[in-house]
Amino acid sequence: MTPEEIDRALASDAARVRASPRFAAAVMAAVRREAQAPPPLRFPWTRAAPGIAAAVLGLALAVSSLLSTPSAESTVQAPPALERAVEITAKVGDAVATLDARWALIWLAVAALTMVPIVAPLMLVSAERDQPLRRTAPTAHT
């Protein structure tokens, strides 16, 4: 097949295709629907700005903490925050492992306290539901 034949075949392709008679009406119906639709909700940048700023700041601090870690002579050294988290985890692990009664009581108390904000509203709601509906009595017509 010669290049000219390919040219002719490609140029003639779909040359006679036209829109159907009802196409314009269908498009205008879709456009009217589009015009009546409420505008899309915009992202609440003003509300999100503090959170985004905090996230960026936190990321920057984490990066700077990583970059400021001395790496010349020592081998890999974890950032201070990570070291502190590991220390706390180790202490908790030790307390559990040795069954230290004092630590166990403290943790039980903390767990009980965390349940208070969950249980208290549930109790209040169930108490309200159990009470009969109080309707205002109709005023008597004399």
Binding site: M1, P3, E5, I6, D7, A9, L10, A11, S12, D13, A14, A15, V17, R18, A19, S20, F23, A24, A26, V27, M28, A30, V31, R32, E34, A35
Partner: protein
């Protein structure tokens, strides 16, 4: 509708006269459907794609900067819609190795040589990688105008020329192989008869 008429209709639509968009649809419906058809080769789907292009154009009408003609902006927008649609719902592509189906089309080829060849070209075109296919589709749609094809694709003219050259070469190579094979099979069938 002249370019100025297009601008006038756009202005009316932007002022809130939705009905004025009908003039734009009337003027550009055939070219946009024809361009969509070149991409998908399915009449019903072509109209769906063209309708989506018009709705997107209506939504983005305020973004037409008027530095280029309205038609240039509209075709670029429609091209993006069509390409995205093809990526989303990929047309049944044919492998370049299966461009022609000589065994299946023996009778048709004997009776309709020219249309069969055009169909082979079309199948080969749609088996090309998208970047070459899009360049060829738009180049021939815009009556071999590289500048308008480049504007519709949003790439420099040099890029379009390079893609056209490579796309044509790929087409030629595959068509030569497959059509030669088909001709050999046709001759064999005739000699058997």
């Amino acid at each position: 509708m002249t370019v100025d008429d297009g601008a006038a209709a756009v202005d009316r639509v932007l002022r809130g006269d939705v009905a004025a968009f009908a003039a734009i649809v009337e003027r550009w419906q055939d070219p946009l459907v024809a361009l969509a058809y070149r991409f998908c080769h399915d009449r019903s789907r072509a109209e769906d794609m063209a309708q989506e292009a018009f709705v997107r154009a209506f939504r983005a009408l305020g973004q037409w900067r008027r530095e280029a003609a309205f038609s240039t902006w509209l075709f670029a927008l429609a091209t993006n819609v069509y390409r995205a649609e093809l990526r989303r719902r990929r047309a049944p592509l044919v492998s370049l190795d299966d461009v022609a189906d000589p065994a299946g089309s023996l009778d048709v080829a004997a009776e309709h040589e020219a249309s069969d060849r055009r169909a082979a070209v079309r199948r080969a075109l749609h088996a090309l990688p998208a970047r070459y296919r899009d360049a060829l589709v738009l180049f021939y749609f815009h009556e071999m105008d590289v500048e308008r094809a480049a504007a519709s694709l949003g790439v420099p003219e040099g890029t379009v020329k390079a893609r056209l050259s490579r796309g044509r070469e790929l087409l030629r190579r595959k068509l030569a192989a497959t059509l030669d094979e088909r001709d050999v099979r046709l001759e064999e069938a005739e000699s058997d008869a």
